[in-house]
Symmetry: C3
Subunit: 139 residues, 3 copies
């Protein structure tokens, strides 16, 4: 059994945002599967997806701090600067974290670890709404 | 054909560990597939999975050196410090490398390159046993 | 419906290369699927795959600059140096970006965002030809 649906995620500030509930509610058909895989794909090049700690907001704030330090906006080697100082770092961060995730489905639910939550990683200052294409296969 | 199984990986020291054989032996059903995909998902937020060079232990040691330098424990911007100095860096490293891998299956085996091995990346000093959920689909 | 095929990518210089068209033309069977997943797996440990901006060559040049600065060839901690100064950094970069990608298929095409292109990331100075194993499932 296959299904596929595009979900719109509302605009968010630059940073790391917990969106597990929002995404899970967008694909209720997962409840019908005993086993499967859910593939989440963000249709952009300056935002990304990752799984990480779902309890402490300070973890998500520290993600922003580390990525800001590791991919500096004022590095002397940037040549793609026309779209603003946050643009090229956003592309690098998106590829470091990845624009898609494949997650296991077990007994009608995403089989995440106790502490795993889904992050939308918004790397632009004003990224706008983000489109997520969800593809699920299972039985 | 689908199957899914949780595998327990024994506690390992902080660092990068070759676990190809241990994981492959845990899913003997792969031998029955002519083509498919095997999805490996670690149910934690401070350990990760990657594929890399399977021959030289010094490659895995150098991985630990680079990640230790790139994500320093004593960075001034960490605010999530309650769980110890290795915790927040472990979260960042886990997202850089990723908590799941999808691998191709061909003629009854994982179709890895000659030099590709599966690494369990343990980012905590004392991470304990790690649970891996393996989901396989194929025909 | 499953199919699997190995594609040879011609040798390329160190850097980031847009290969969307080359890969898509190698798997024409995608046109027969209304929904599915395409898994691309590079069978090497010093080259990788990512999705990013498909229009400006300067983005790809800036990728090379950032990765060169972030994973320096002359770091004092490298111990795996027998295969040349570009070898160990290439392994790290390959794991940061990842050696496989899973992409959604929709209505006979890879469902990429408007600006998303497929990059072959060649991390060696002389990496030679690269083998890509493509596995597609769908209906």
């Amino acid at each position: 059994m296959w299904f596929q649906r595009e979900i719109q995620l509302e605009p968010r500030a630059r940073g790391f945002h917990l969106v597990t509930r929002e995404v899970v509610e967008g694909v209720p058909e997962i409840a019908d599967l005993s086993v499967g895989l859910a593939h989440l794909h963000i249709l952009h090049t300056s935002a990304s997806l990752t799984l990480n700690e779902n309890a402490s907001p300070d973890v998500r704030r520290d993600f922003e701090s580390w990525f800001g330090a590791a991919v500096p906006e004022d590095a002397p080697y940037w040549t793609h600067t026309l779209e603003g100082p946050d643009d090229m770092p956003a592309h690098i961060k998106a590829s470091l974290l990845g624009t898609s995730l494949t997650l296991p489905v077990r007994e009608g639910k995403l089989a995440l670890g106790t502490w795993q939550g889904l992050y939308l990683c918004e790397h632009r200052d004003s990224g706008g709404p983000r489109s997520l294409l969800v593809t699920v296969v299972g039985e």
